[in-house]
Symmetry: C2
Subunit: 332 residues, 2 copies
DNA sequence: TTGAAAGCGCTAACAG
DNA sequence: CTGTTAGCGCTTTCAA
């Protein structure tokens, strides 16, 4: 049987009206058992696939959501995206993926495109959130708190401050007294939250922060991290622990240490953040702050679907707990 | 100025017909300089965003492509997807991301959905390729050769056999004589190609393959790899090198070796495949086969866009060269 | 250079 | 329970 592209042909073949076919497909309205049977059979035989453009035009609901992330290459984001995509697909939604590469300009363009695509909703990982295009699209903000005032929409994030605190605690409890903080100088505010956790732990232990051991990387990259640690070592700055705000950064730090003949955890202790594949497989295994990505994805999916159906959730801010996954890099 | 959602309102505001507005937007047909100017101004002021559903319905071209990958969490795929997405976006195309999780059923559903979404084209990483839904959609097959007969569409892959050969060569040249081959038993045929390269290198050196040292993992996971190596060690099988068909697998192998007090590369040499972040940051640094992902993405994008425009490329098969990135894991 | 109008495939009143 | 019909926003003849 030849292929068929419209509901009209199905209607003709089944000897009913297009309205009936539509009803059967969408389980709307009532129809006799036998009509349904007949229509379904024709649909199966003709391998008919409904046209989503037409449906989207008519109903203004596309069953497509946008996923805006900084960089899918980052393991933390890729596992988040994987879970989001699978959850959404289970509920009949497809996902447009948008990498902003941390560029505001690119992000703006993506938002614009998503709005043109008439997406049903958006999951947005971004520090910015004053896009007028998004006024009438449900949005879930994930992972990065907003820097702007307008706070409509739902926000989900990990307790980054606590994560920074836990990691630093671990280092201090193991006896470290001269801690490097290796973070990224980005607009991304949760880098800063992790740093605040670092400071809190230091303060509790009555330890002064050493400004020489505070390093801001221009970007999250193991190469930059490696260079930074190399530089510190060559300047003969003394330190016995490194708190990294990311596993990628921690991995770079490990390389530099190894290259300079230093052992982890014998000479220097290291902590990462995200508990990614990298933390598991790197060097001796990196102690890392675990974020509950599954929970994040599950919450985001559930809430966004609710919002798409018109229900505004009562709770609009979620902070997910974190815990420390201890590995060899801090085990003396 | 209030928001505007249709070309009709733009037309009214500009005092022209909808046809003219459409022409201006698409740079179609002719119109006076001043009409254009006026229309453009209105569009800017009203922040008008064209409705892609309507456009898609009318033209049958959605400017959306589907990216079907096994698992975006795999660094090799995530960097491929990143590059594909950015290339396509530069050309005005958005990307639907579909994780098949290596499940044929899920893959089939995704293909079906993509077809319903009326995508302009598809980049498909899959061993299967007999989907009747895809008969009239341009498709680029990437990374995994087809197992089926029907070979319409364009195929791009790395020279996996050569990669396996190079890695094995490296181990043999370093003096290894008892090689473990740690691969994944998947439908994915390039795992097998890498293994064939392994066999070729062995044959050239006149070395017999040891069946005890042939390991098929049920899935690509560092955990499974770790268990496998642990098991080999506990069975007291002797080996001095491990050829892994994936960096993830190599990372797992390293963990097992470390746990048993074995040093890399002093006691055992290890090679990976993909030259991912993991290879760079893991253990001592893993020697790994580098695939030219950028080139792959660039080719795929270019060819698919051509096909979308109706040109069938003359060359329908591309094999990309690989090279060995040597790191500490094989440096004695 | 511009406008009028048909129609892409679908859904949702409304009428029967 | 089912059919008729209007129209979503856009492009594209055809005519002016």
């Amino acid at each position: 049987m030849e292929k068929v592209k419209s509901i009209k042909e199905i209607a003709r073949l089944a000897g009913v009206s297009t309205a009936t076919v539509s009803r059967v497909i969408n389980q709307n309205g009532r129809f006799s058992k036998e009509t349904e049977e007949r229509v379904r059979r024709i649909i199966r035989q003709t391998e008919y696939v409904p046209n989503m453009s037409a449906k989207g035009l008519r109903t203004n609901r596309t069953r497509v959501v946008g996923l805006v992330v900084p960089d899918i290459t980052n393991p933390h984001f890729s596992s988040l995206v994987l879970k989001l995509e699978m959850n959404f697909f289970e509920h009949g939604y497809s996902c447009l993926i948008c990498n902003t590469n941390e560029s505001e300009k690119l992000e703006r363009k993506h938002i614009h495109t998503l709005s043109a695509q008439n997406v049903s909703g958006i999951v947005l990982i971004s520090g910015t959130r004053n896009y007028s295009e998004l006024d009438d699209v449900p949005v879930i903000y994930v992972d990065r708190p907003s820097r702007s005032q307008n706070s409509s929409g739902v926000m989900i994030e990990s307790d980054n401050e606590e994560g920074g605190y836990l990691a630093t605690q671990e280092l201090l409890n193991a006896g470290c007294r001269h801690l490097v903080i290796l973070k990224c100088l980005s607009s991304d505010t949760n880098q800063f939250s992790r740093y605040r956790g670092f400071q809190r732990a230091l303060a509790e232990h009555g330890i002064e922060e050493d400004p020489h051991l505070y390093v801001d990387l221009p970007e999250v990259s193991s190469e930059k991290a490696r260079n930074a640690i190399t530089w510190l070592l060559e300047q003969n700055f003394h330190f016995d622990g490194i708190m990294c705000t990311t596993d990628t950064i921690a991995a770079g730090a490990l390389i530099a240490l190894r290259e300079h003949g230093l052992s982890v955890p014998e000479d220097v202790l290291v902590t990462g953040f995200d508990d990614s594949q990298l933390a598991i497989s790197c060097g001796p295994g990196i102690t890392s702050v675990h974020q509950d990505v599954s929970k994040m994805a599950q919450l985001a999916t559930g809430l966004l679907l609710e919002m798409i159906c018109g229900k505004m959730p009562k709770q609009t801010y979620y902070q997910l707990p974190v815990y420390l996954e201890v590995r060899a890099s801090t085990r003396r």
